[in-house]
């Protein structure tokens, strides 16, 4: 039995010890906003925050997340109105949308450590998060937009 604190709530889950955090979130807690894309930390669709740091849930054993604050897309803001989410909506960044939780969680982590990123900063930070729809230019623009609104 593992105890996990997700989005402020504590959960007891009965899973095999080696179960990745991703599958605990999805299969056991039905927090389905965090996505599976590759299972090998190659695509970033599963990015969540562990104590505020971006982490790949698909290769993070759930055991390693015990005692830490886990934040998923569902817990990023109460009403879906985090400045990054608002910027995403204003610029209509998503297409199919499947990768966007990982994109947004990665973008939030970037802005938390670098409130005024350059294009190059964004490209470096976001290069590991794949979008097959190719919404990259809108994602970059939305990060700049969010940075402006967070500054103001």
């Amino acid at each position: 039995m593992l105890e996990l604190k997700v989005n402020g709530a504590t959960h007891q889950v009965d899973v095999a010890e080696d179960t990745p955090l991703l599958w605990v979130l999805r299969d056991h807690l039905q927090l389905t906003g965090t996505k599976y894309g590759c299972g090998e930390s190659l695509c970033g669709a599963c990015v969540v925050h562990l104590d505020g740091q971006p982490s790949r849930a698909c290769t993070t054993p759930a055991v390693a997340a015990t005692g830490r604050e886990i934040t998923t897309i569902e817990g990023l803001s109460e009403k879906g109105d985090h400045p990054v989410q608002k910027a995403w909506i204003e610029l209509d960044a998503p297409q199919c949308g499947y990768c966007q939780s990982g994109q947004i969680m990665s973008a939030v982590a970037l802005l938390n450590r670098n409130p005024k990123p350059t294009d190059a900063d964004i490209d470096n930070a976001m290069n590991g998060v794949i979008c097959r729809c190719g919404a990259y230019n809108r994602i970059r623009a939305a990060i700049h937009r969010a940075a402006e609104s967070m500054e103001g």
Binding site: V15, A16, Q30, L31, G33, Y98, N124, C133, G134, R138
Partner: protein
């Protein structure tokens, strides 16, 4: 119906539960479509609803096409809302059930593909809105005892003098009225919604984790299955030992299914671990030792023989003999996987009540028919709940319905009515077949002694992807698969002596349409060869095309626009130590016209970057310009990946690539700046999901030639060849 327990699910899963009260507007399908459907043994009875207006003014548009990022769940509601005179803020959507009422008006089945969603729905959706508006207006007129012609509908209300009633208030009364036989559509001058860059309706849910994809369906007691599939194309199970898998905690059942061995478990992790512990001996099929290098050799030999004639004008052989100058070229493109971000998955609940399916599919009618076959049911005993698609690109319109068929077989093998989700991991996706085929093109062009283009001989060698699918008979005629040569046979530059041949190769590798289908490789060849023809004729690539486009005004229109946007002819800004170049390509596909100019920077070692792409698109009437822009950006990104790096390699019959580390796709650092111009047009509205892709590869390769003087004829580009 079972309700998913996923707390983030959207209300559209509730289906008919929200139908009570309000106005439902439906249409009977045309006889032709109905007849086509009868052949597929579909029932014609249906609620036939595209539109629902609730007493609280909420309007729900029922979307008959799959939303895979292309924006259809916003653009179809826009078409309805315009002629309904709706208040856009009140508009929502849900996906339709499988029913002939929601058939594609041309294909006669429910299908999303070929960039046809707008084209086939444009009139239908606008009339759906207009019909409702007429009925609501009549209901208001009747309430006030005035003539309907004195009333007007605007932004969700009907007005007459000082009187005003909302659509919701009028809904029940309107529902009692007979629908009008004919309705007039609003003239363009009065449009308030069409042509406006409205925010997508599905965006908020896609930013907070609540959008429900097939992968996100969780039913009470649901199990998860993964399937061990043959590593060799055409292979099958010879024997298997389930013991290792059965010892894995959480594994519930190990069962053979027609396509392999399914490991069914309490969750995905247990199922995947179980599969790793499973021992399977595979029986190889014929030609199981194929390799990419062997196929290259085979294709090259095949290219020496005449293929099946797709087009013939004049005497190409003679013209080439007498040509003053000529170029003979061989092109090669590899197998490609679609690799949508959401791997395939399908939830099935098969019990005595029938079969219910939750999945993201582009092909509901045929999937339903296939599911019924596997389950031993009639199609009407199968219901498909279409979910959001985490990317499709063609893969979710399976020509054999493979992923739905397999998931139903898994549920059948489980046999106890428990819902089960069959889930593909990324390696299953990359190695699972259904690829854009590998092709070799052999092209021979020439100019006469006056420097005029005189001959173009074009032979395409490769698998016919329509083979083994529902459109085989329609699309393969006289030995020619129309998709193998599309974009070549209607070449706008065709000289008087012009010949196109399809040289088919039969292989066990499963193939499928991939974003832009045949155009994904034919435009690469035709538009780079057009530049070579221009060179033979001693002309600038744009001047050569301008001459050729005299009878092709829409080709000319997009080209002139993109040349202007790109500043064609002006010198490119030089950067220290890099060679720069600009390339042009113009291509018509899916009834839309697209021109692109790419700008590249090439390093001394040949590595290069696509800095900027200018794109001009003419897709007829504009529904949502921001969606059109987004689709051009998307097609450019999707099309750039195989130019830079995506490719599948076969060795000893096995696909070598397995995940995004070796099947590489475009990442943010490689994304060029993109500038899109949309031609203002009153032509029929046509597709935008695919037409932006075909010109990308040739525009980039023409730019690489301009920068390096080296022609690129193989994708992905071997950058070492471009070293200075």
């Amino acid at each position: 119906m079972d309700q998913p327990i996923n707390p983030s699910r959207r209300s559209f899963l509730k289906g008919s539960a929200v139908l009570a009260g309000g106005l439902i507007i439906g249409f009977h399908i045309p006889e032709k479509t109905r007849a086509a459907d009868a052949a597929g043994s579909e029932q014609t009875f249906a609620p036939n609803a595209f539109l629902r207006i609730a007493p609280d003014d909420r309007i729900t548009v029922i979307v008959k096409h799959a939303e895979m990022g292309q924006g259809v769940a916003t653009s179809l509601p826009m078409l309805v809302a315009e002629d309904l005179e709706a208040d856009w803020q009140k508009i929502g959507f849900e996906f339709s059930p499988v029913d002939p009422a929601y058939n594609h008006t041309v294909f006669g089945i429910m299908l999303t593909g070929g960039s046809t969603s707008i084209a086939n729905s444009y009139e239908q959706m606008r009339k759906a809105g207009a019909t409702a508006r007429v009925m609501l207006t009549e209901a208001a007129a009747d309430t006030w005892g005035v003539d309907a012609s004195e009333c007007s509908a605007r932004e969700g209300r009907v007005h007459h003098g000082d009187n005003s009633l909302s659509f919701g208030e009028l809904a029940d009364k309107a529902a009692q009225l007979p629908p009008p036989a004919e309705v007039a559509l609003k003239p363009k001058a009065e449009w308030r919604i069409l042509g406006k860059p409205l925010t997508r309706l599905d965006t908020p849910a896609k930013t907070n984790g609540s959008s429900t994809f097939g992968a996100d369906i969780y039913l009470e007691g649901m199990l998860t299955a993964v399937v061990a599939r043959p590593p060799l194309f055409g292979g099958r199970v010879k024997s298997f030992d389930p013991a290792g898998a059965q010892r894995v905690e959480g594994v519930v059942k190990v069962a053979e299914v027609p396509n392999g061995v399914a490991v069914i478990a309490k969750d995905f992790w247990a199922a995947q671990k179980g599969r790793k512990a499973l021992q399977v001996e595979w029986q190889a099929g014929p030609e199981s030792d194929i390799s990419s290098s062997g196929l290259e050799k085979l294709f090259r030999e095949k290219a020496q023989e005449s293929g099946n004639l797709a087009k013939k004008a004049g005497d190409v052989e003679q013209a080439l003999k007498t040509a003053a100058k000529s170029v003979e070229a061989e092109y090669l493109v590899p197998y490609l996987a679609h690799a949508p971000m959401e791997p395939l998955n399908c939830v099935v609940k098969l019990d005595e009540q029938g079969c219910e399916i939750w999945t993201g599919t582009q092909s509901q009618t045929l999937d339903r028919k296939a599911a019924a076959e596997v389950a031993g049911l009639a199609p009407e005993q199968v219901q498909i709940h279409t979910q959001m698609l985490g990317g499709g690109f063609g893969r979710r319109a399976s020509k054999t319905n493979d992923f739905v068929r397999e998931a139903v077989a898994v549920a059948k093998a489980l046999g106890d009515g428990t819902p089960v989700k069959t889930f593909w991991d990324r390696t299953d996706d990359i190695r699972g077949g259904y690829y854009r085929p590998m092709y070799l093109h052999k092209v021979h062009i020439g100019v006469d002694d006056k420097g005029q283009p005189s001959a173009w001989h074009h032979r395409v060698v490769g698998q016919q992807l329509m083979k083994g699918g529902p459109f085989e008979d329609a699309m393969i005629q006289d030995g020619v698969d129309a998709t193998s040569v599309e974009g070549i046979t209607d070449l706008p530059y065709a000289p008087a002596n012009f010949q196109v041949e399809d040289q088919p190769v039969e292989l066990p590798v499963t193939t499928l349409w991939w974003r832009s289908v045949g155009h994904s490789h034919t435009a690469f060849v035709t538009e780079t060869m057009a530049d070579e023809m221009a060179a033979l004729a001693g002309k600038d690539p744009a001047d050569y095309r301008r001459d050729a486009f005299q009878d092709h005004p829409r080709h000319l229109g997009v080209m002139q626009q993109v040349l202007k946007d790109a500043g064609w002819g002006k010198p490119l800004e030089q950067k220290g130590g890099v060679r720069r170049g600009r390339g042009l390509a113009v291509h018509k596909s899916f009834e839309s016209y697209c021109a692109e100019v790419a700008e590249v920077s090439v390093q001394a070692d040949g590595s290069f970057r696509v800095d900027q792409v200018y794109c001009a698109i003419d897709c007829g009437k504009i529904v949502n310009p921001d969606t059109i822009r987004a689709q051009m950006e998307s097609a450019i990104a999707y099309g750039l990946a195989p130019v830079l790096k995506s490719r599948l390699t076969l060795q000893n019959g096995r696909v070598q690539e397995s995940n995004f580390h070796d099947y590489e796709v475009l990442r943010m650092q490689e994304m060029p700046a993109v500038a899109v111009s949309i031609i203002d047009s009153d032509e029929k509205a046509t597709g935008v999901g695919e037409p932006g892709l075909p010109p990308l590869a040739p525009a980039v390769c023409n730019a690489l030639y301009a920068a390096t003087g080296k022609r690129v004829r193989t994708l992905p580009v071997d950058s070492g060849r471009l070293a200075s």
